[in-house]
């Protein structure tokens, strides 16, 4: 008996050890060898990994002599990767280029002089002409541009299960006018027997919903003002938005705090909820479940945000002291090229940052997103690092998480004001 037990224990230990091992990809970075580029991302699985692979293929054909070294660190939305990156930068051992959300999230690296000004590269490649002016504005800090976007995502999309809406007697093709109309629709769906009509997940997805409500209630300018200090966080507009947000949270699934976005989308896919607010990367989850846009599911800009594009982008940087600077610039060139953007975005499900991309290469949803990106007012997403520096968005995330457990509107507004004060001081 004892022997069998120990064999079992041994087998379990081996199993644990195996799952603990991470897969190291590619070779080692060698500073002496100029024909290498070490690229740090958190694209380690799913459509993101497929997109990166496709991008690398394009890079290899543009620069056949340069060896690509994958330094991807797995983990949800880059949380592990950011910690790993911070320790590498701290010890002056930067990768040749690393992935970061474009916009305010870069401000810490810029202030610490850890990444280089890429304005020269933009001029050399003529990128200022092919990226939309709104985007260039968001990438520019004190007249300098520090990163090259590889893709654009939209964060104010509501995903709708058409059958659940039809069962409640609602027309899924028509989006409610504003948040109030949406809330009354949610009530109708609830009355039709759906316990939790609005699916939601963990802290950052709640933060994304709040951000959507803020955009809907304050409009693009009012929302943008929150981030540069020109609009107050205790204004009536914000209070209305928080009240709306609190009402929306009355319609959500109980187990939200433990769900990541994909689990929340799955609730809509399964027909246990009518709506989910998520970025356009959720498209892949719906199509992989065998659903077609317009039949089983449909999308709208979140009620009240029609005509506004809540933007976020992944981008690549050039760290100070990158061991293979020229090769890193070659990588950035590939990313910004029309072919590179096509290789990545057609696979990942996002849209290209370049305005000269051919819509015919992309799917139906992506085409509509490309039109919106070209025509709509663009605002920066809070939940995805475009609107506020890391410390600020992390404070908001915690305040939203607290609200999720105590539902105290006053406390939420106080916390939002305090977060803004400490960030803008």
């Amino acid at each position: 008996m004892r022997k069998r037990m120990s064999i079992l224990a041994g087998a379990l230990a081996v199993g644990l050890a195996l799952t603990g091992c991470s897969s190291g990809g590619g070779g080692e970075s060698d500073p002496e060898n100029p024909d290498q580029v070490e690229v740090f991302t958190w694209w380690a699985s799913g459509s993101e990994k497929a997109g990166l692979d496709s991008l690398v293929k394009e890079f290899n054909s543009q620069y056949p002599d340069i060896e690509f070294i994958n330094a991807a660190v797995a983990g949800g939305a880059g949380s592990n990767a950011k910690a790993a990156l911070a320790s590498r930068l701290e010890s002056d051992n930067p990768p040749d280029t690393f992935q970061a959300h474009a916009g305010a999230e870069l401000s810490d690296y810029i202030a610490a002089e850890q990444i280089q000004d890429l304005s020269g590269l933009y001029e050399e490649l003529g990128l200022t002409d092919v990226f939309p002016a709104d985007l260039i504005d968001r990438l520019t800090v004190d007249g300098k541009i520090y990163s090259v976007p590889s893709n654009i995502h939209r964060a104010n999309v509501t995903w709708v299960n058409t059958q659940v809406l039809k069962d409640a007697g609602l027309d899924p093709t028509k989006a409610p006018e504003d948040i109030d109309a949406w809330i009354s629709d949610l009530q109708k769906v609830k009355d039709s027997g759906v316990d939790a009509p609005l699916a939601i997940g963990t802290e950052w997805t709640q933060m994304q919903l709040l951000e959507n409500v803020l955009i809907a209630d304050l409009g693009a300018d009012g929302y943008a003002g929150l981030w540069d200090g020109s609009a107050a966080w205790d204004s009536d507009g914000v209070k209305t938005a928080v009240d709306h947000y609190a009402q929306l949270m009355e319609f959500v699934n109980q187990d939200y705090a433990g769900l990541d976005w994909d689990a929340a989308s799955q609730i809509v896919i399964d027909g246990n909820a009518a709506y989910n607010v998520m970025g356009d990367w959720a498209e892949a989850a719906f199509t992989q479940a065998g659903q077609t846009w317009g039949t089983e599911y449909t999308t709208w800009p979140t009620p009240g945000t029609d005509g506004i594009f809540d933007f976020l982008a992944d981008s690549f940087t050039l760290p100070v002291g990158a061991p293979h600077e020229q090769a890193a610039k070659d990588w950035l060139t590939t990313i910004s090229s029309a072919e590179g953007q096509k290789a990545f975005n057609t696979v990942k499900g996002s849209i290209p940052a370049r305005t000269d991309a051919d819509p015919a290469d992309y799917g139906e949803y992506q085409q509509s997103a490309m039109t919106s990106f070209a025509d709509d007012t663009i605002v920066s997403s809070l939940a995805h690092g475009a609107a506020a520096p890391i410390a600020w968005s992390s404070d908001i995330s915690s305040a939203v998480g607290k609200f999720g457990s105590d539902r105290d509107q006053e406390a939420l507004i106080t916390a939002l004001v305090a977060a803004a004060e400490s960030a803008l001081s």
Partner: protein, 296 residues
């Protein structure tokens, strides 16, 4: 003189490397950490000027940190009481004599072989807070047995949620406490019990006056071991809930502060944790030192 060196030379030579390593990587880094915690290094860019205890004052007046301390307190109390009670009861039952003791011992000890991270993944599912149609894990089990009223949102509860997170920790460590207590029970010579019985002690009096006093050093070590594990709890929470507000404890808050590049705040939290742990450890060290002196 030469004989002297022969006597103490080799042991010192053997100990030196580890002494140097401990001095640098434990005590040196503790000092470096305290130093950082007294600067204003709140971002990648800032130099870190000396600000004294400012970070500690901000921390201890910040509702978020106090919330994490409260969470930790709830967790610690439930975890310690749970492991001690279950560990003791199991050890007592085994000591009373059950059939196939070996099997029970292995069954109870086995969870300790699994890491918090690995068991946390399972408990994440077991403690799923969905109720009704979408229930899974424990809530689904309660439904199946017709105990619907016991369904709850587990760790998503504002105050008592941390008690739910303590369940996996209790499950994991009760067996270890059981092993400690069992060793204690076995260490008490049968003659003592027999003598007590001869003197006419009832079963309760036997435990009260003969067995419990002999077990108290073991209970104390067990208490110290689980309490310092509880103060450091990080992996279990990251595995079950990830770093979110509802289940925030100082260790996960420290990690968040670090990923925000707020080095000063992170190291201040680390120092607070060190002080909390030493509140438990130092009395224990003093106690054992006294015991050793007494016995030598």
């Amino acid at each position: 003189m030469r004989k002297g060196i022969r006597n103490w030379g080799p042991p010192v030579l053997l100990l030196t490397p580890s002494l140097i390593l401990v001095a640098i990587f434990v005590y040196g880094l503790i000092i470096a950490n305290i130093q950082t915690s007294m600067t204003d290094r709140h971002s990648l860019a800032s130099e870190g000027a000396f600000v004294g205890f400012e970070n500690y004052i901000t921390l201890l007046t910040e509702s978020r940190f106090l919330h994490s301390l409260l969470n930790l307190a709830v967790f610690t109390v439930v975890f310690i009481v749970g492991t001690m009670v279950f560990g003791f009861i199991w050890a007592w039952l085994l000591d009373k004599g059950v059939k196939a003791e070996g099997i029970f011992r292995s069954v109870y000890l086995f969870p300790m072989a699994v890491s918090f991270v690995a068991s946390g993944v399972v408990w994440r599912w077991l403690l799923n807070s969905a109720e009704g149609d979408r229930a899974s894990g424990l809530n689904r089990m309660l439904q199946t047995f017709g105990l619907d009223f016991l369904q709850n949102s587990w760790w998503n509860e504002p105050i008592w949620g941390m008690a739910a997170i303590a369940m996996p920790a209790i499950w994991q460590l009760s067996g270890y406490i059981m092993a400690l207590f069992l060793a204690g029970f076995r260490g008490i010579p049968d003659e003592l019990r027999e003598a007590a019985r001869m003197d006419g002690a009832s079963e309760w009096k036997l435990y009260r006056h003969v067995i419990f006093p002999q077990l108290s050093p073991i209970a104390l070590s067990a208490l110290i071991i689980v309490s310092h594990m509880s103060l450091k709890v990080f992996d279990l929470i990251m595995a079950v809930t990830k770093a979110i507000y509802q289940t925030e404890v100082p260790a996960t808050y420290m990690w968040i502060a670090l990923t925000e590049n707020d080095y000063a705040k992170a190291s201040a939290i680390a120092t607070v944790l060190l002080i909390l742990a030493s509140l438990f450890i130092i009395p224990y060290l003093i106690h054992t030192m006294r015991e050793e002196k007494r016995s030598s």
